[in-house]
Amino acid sequence: MNDPATTTPAPTVAAGYRPLDGCYDEMVDAAGVPREHWSYLAESIAELGLDELLRRRVEAARLLDQDGVVYNTYRESARADERWLLDPLPAVLGSREWERIETGVIERAELLNLVLEDLYGPRDLLRRGLLPPELVFGHAGFLRSCDGIRLPGNQQLFSYAADVGRDKDGRYVVLSDRTQAPSGAGYALENRTVISRVLPSLYREAQVHRLAPFFRSLRVALQTVAPPGVDDPRIVVLTPGPLNETAFEHAVLASELGYPLVEGSDLIARRGGVWMRALGQLEPVHVILRRVDAWFCDPLELKPDSRLGVPGLVEAARSGNVSIVNTLGSSVLENPALLAFLPRLGKHLLGTEPRLGSVPTWWCGDDGSRRHVLANLEQLILRPTSRAPGSAATFGWECSAAELDALRRRIEHRPQEWVGQEPIAMASTPTLTSGGLEARRTVLRAFAVARTDSYVVMPGGLTRVAPDAGSDRISNQAGAISKDTWVLASEPERLTGFWLQSGPAVEGIDPMAAIPSRAAENLWWLGRYAERAEAITRLLRAVDDRRNEFQGSTNAAGVASLRALLVALTQVTATYPGFVGHGADKRLAGPGAELLSLVVDEARPGALAHAVRALLDCAYAVRDQLSNDTWLVVGSLDRVILRLHSSDEEPQAVVQGALQRVMQSLLALGGLGDESMVRDLGWRFMDAGRRIERAVQLLSLLRATVTQTRGTATDSLVLESVLTAAESIITYRRRYRSQAQLETLLDLLLLDEGNPRSVIYQLQRLIDDFDALPNGDHRLRDEQRLLLEASTALRLVDTTALVAQDAAGDCAELDAFLAHLLDLLLRAADAVDRVHFVQLLPQRQLVGPAQPAASANGTAARR
């Protein structure tokens, strides 16, 4: 297909497409004719036409939504509104071009590896004057406490990424090297997944190199880097948590690689090694794939107030009992000043200058270079050598005279902390807009990972383009759009390294294998909040139904039943004063505002939106534990909640619409839990959370409604609503046909083992869930004992005796019994917290000023 003889220009596309002036265009040459490796794609997109391409773009966005792909820009809560932007048109690289990038990236990785090894070892490069010591000693990434830490094997630089641009002559130029914890490979994989579904035939026929082998190489590399003598290394992915901007990717990596995703508080340093806190026991950890910046990794030896790290981690790495990759301190290589010295270092270390060159860079620590930079400030990009908040690049040509003066003074004051870089007329590439194809500046992030004495490069990478035609800034913070990157195979690719392997069966991972306690805790709360949200929704709907019937009606029983339900709503959700306390009469007369608040108020515990937000936070925190389809549901729930505030509809319509949409999502979530999750440890906790919450909600509702009598007409309406809210009305009507009776209602809601809404059913599931957990000594744990007690009490109860009324019409015995069950269940829930989850004390600094103690795991208290 790359035969030039059969290539014909695609006039419809080429005609509409205008490359940017003064730069190289990826798709067309100077004459506007598609380049050889682009011709097939150019033709195909011309055939598809603009409308169809736009339709595919919508489809791509929908798929990304479905997978919950987000790029957070740090905020207090993870949200689905930070969309990952993906252009349906891939960036295309021919095999010759790719070879230049691939060999260049490997060569650079090898060179940087030798530099890294030297800087945290003999420092010969400094002693011999090949690298000025100020450049290293003055860089924030040079971590003295990590000096001398060595990974097993020859490669100290485990993974590497290069941002590669193309200058006006089409030469590839590295704009920056990424060595701290290179991000983007997971997004590249996601882009591929989406584009291969959006442009399936195009993708199939274009013979594109696959990405999966790269992730297998990554897995092999992680196993290879384990401390010597460890045959079956335990590997984890360390993340700063769900609020991190690339949290999505951390979860993708963890699930793609099949390793637990952990936060600092999931790990503990002991006896010279590192361990994962896994449900009441410690599991050894041998390799940590680090996505936390090194400086934050250990409050003992690095950043003292970091809450993202593990105290003692540096010492463990030093002892060689755990391999942390990239190695702590690797970001010393991200110093842009190093770019000015790479040719010299290449000659010294590899005998050749790197063929993949860098953007022309002058380090101001050198007198001659500083003079050049200061004399040409308005033509250069000025960059601090260390990356820090607020240390963005300054574009000399955008500065006023006063700004340039200030900049000059800053550079003269600490010259070794600055570089000047020449702007590159970056290449453009076609990007889909609603008006057709538009040329946008483009940059490729290429990824490499260590492989026996060299590196392997992902065939492809993460291409990003500027957010608009005029812009030459390409970063995710600036709203860049990403592209799938297609490296065309010169011959059909041999499929090797299948996932499906012949040969002896590999020992699988035990479904009851350890997961971090924090993950189990989040799943337990995910279950609880999901069920709580569902219970509130059902109750609100039942209330809303009665309101439609009886609000302002003259039917006394109807009005009384509505009133009883409103009071029950406040009691069950514990949203006092509500319809009970001070000002209740006014609110009972006009309940609209209070009901709206109970739906939309995220900050109000007990409100539906609060439970849903808490559920979402739990889901984002255990992203790696949940199936892909879950994100379809989570994303739509998130959007329902986000839209609640911007709605200008009439309040009751908002409430009804929200209740319906939330209910749909919650039902879908429940279905996924039942049908798409393996019954592993995590599922057990999620299910248990759901069950205990369902029982608690139902018992609370019964206490708030049926323990007192209000007259037959009112009571029958109340009982009917209770049965509706408990999702048992249909069964009840079918079974008992006649008028509602408390005794039969209790039979169905408390005692019927066949009713998946009954309390006894929840108790049985809870007992099963906790029995399924690994148990060392076969003695009952606290939560098991309490659940057994509750279950026994319930089985022995006589409902006929319970419904007896006293003179005031109250069923005191029933109330006492329900209260007793509720107490046992709440104590069981506390026992679960205590027995299974880690209760971390707040972290403090031992010496120094009094620090306000933050919660150790950063999560707010839950009720």
Binding site: R144, S145, A269, L300, P304, G312
Partner: protein
């Protein structure tokens, strides 16, 4: 030569149970030209689960301590026996050259001390050079003045201008504030001296250690009356490091015992740590005793 036995005891009492507790100690004296550590030992109570000694980036001795048993009291006691010679006359001799010449010799890319010169002239976490420090230093480092005379004058100037006020500063007090209020403790004066030297291009480092004090005439020496101490050290081209003590306005003598050195205090705090606890630290007590042993080996 004098032999000192140094005992340094730190006791923390906490409001509520602590577990785990991780700490890092710079309490074991290192060997240096003019100083030899005969023995040094740290005792931690409660018994740590992990205890390891190593050398840090600067060659100082560091101990890593991890305690997992819940505790409300932590004591760390180090006992070391150190031989201290008098000052190396060679260094003072070679410091008798114009300070600008010394500065330029160290900036030469081919200088033997190039790495140290670069490392200790750059800003460090607690000490950042500014014009103000340079101006202050230039009162002492007048053009052509000898390096030795300049640094002695700087010590005297700091000693004269700054009031020694225990408790006036904490570890987190910025140096600029010390420089403004003109009060602090030995650690602050060492930092001021370092900032002044670096601001005029002279590499300087922070030294953490002890000083033996004399009892008032006719009184017996009180155990624990001594303090942990800090001063600074200046790089002299071709000679090595020259230690000066601005707190006591003197060149460092055979009465000073060095524990560790670094770019500033943050590289070598005697004890730092991370603890997990609900409560606060109720009390912190430090006692230091530096006893000269009458015998000389």
């Amino acid at each position: 030569m004098t032999t000192y036995t140094v005992t340094h005891r730190t006791e923390y009492v906490y409001e509520s149970a602590v577990a785990p507790s991780y700490s890092q100690l710079h309490l074991l004296p290192r060997d240096l030209p003019g100083q030899r550590c005969r023995s040094a030992e740290v005792v931690v109570d409660p018994e740590p689960e992990d205890y390891r000694e190593r050398s840090d980036f600067f060659g100082n001795r560091v101990a890593y301590v991890a305690i997992h048993e819940p505790h409300v009291r932590l004591t760390v006691t180090s006992t070391s026996v150190v031989d201290v010679d008098g000052r190396d006359q060679g260094v003072t001799l070679l410091a008798q050259r114009p300070w600008e010449e010394a500065r330029d010799a160290l900036a030469d890319p081919h200088a033997a001390e190039r790495l140290d010169a670069a490392q200790f002239v750059l800003d460090s976490p607690l000490v950042a050079a500014t014009e103000a420090y340079a101006d202050y230093a230039l009162h002492c480092f007048t053009p052509g003045r000898e390096l030795l005379a300049g640094v002695i004058a700087l010590c005297s100037q700091i000693h004269a201008d700054f009031a020694y006020v225990p408790g006036s500063t904490s570890v987190s007090t910025p140096l600029t504030e010390v420089f403004e209020t003109r009060e602090g403790v030995c650690q602050d004066f060492a930092h001021v001296g370092i900032a002044c030297l670096r601001s005029i291009g002279l590499p300087a480092r922070y030294v953490s250690g002890y000083i033996a004090t004399d009892p008032p005439p006719g009184k017996p020496k009180l155990i624990g009356a001594d303090f942990s101490h800090a001063w600074l050290s200046l790089l002299v081209p071709g000679a090595g490091w020259l230690d000066v003590d601005p707190t006591n306005d003197q060149l460092v003598s055979h009465r000073h015992v060095v524990t560790a050195f670094g770019r500033d205090y943050s590289d070598v705090p005697p004890l730092t740590g991370v603890i997990f606890t609900e409560g606060k630290t109720k009390s912190l007590k430090v006692t230091v005793d530096v006893a000269a042993t009458p015998i000389s080996a």
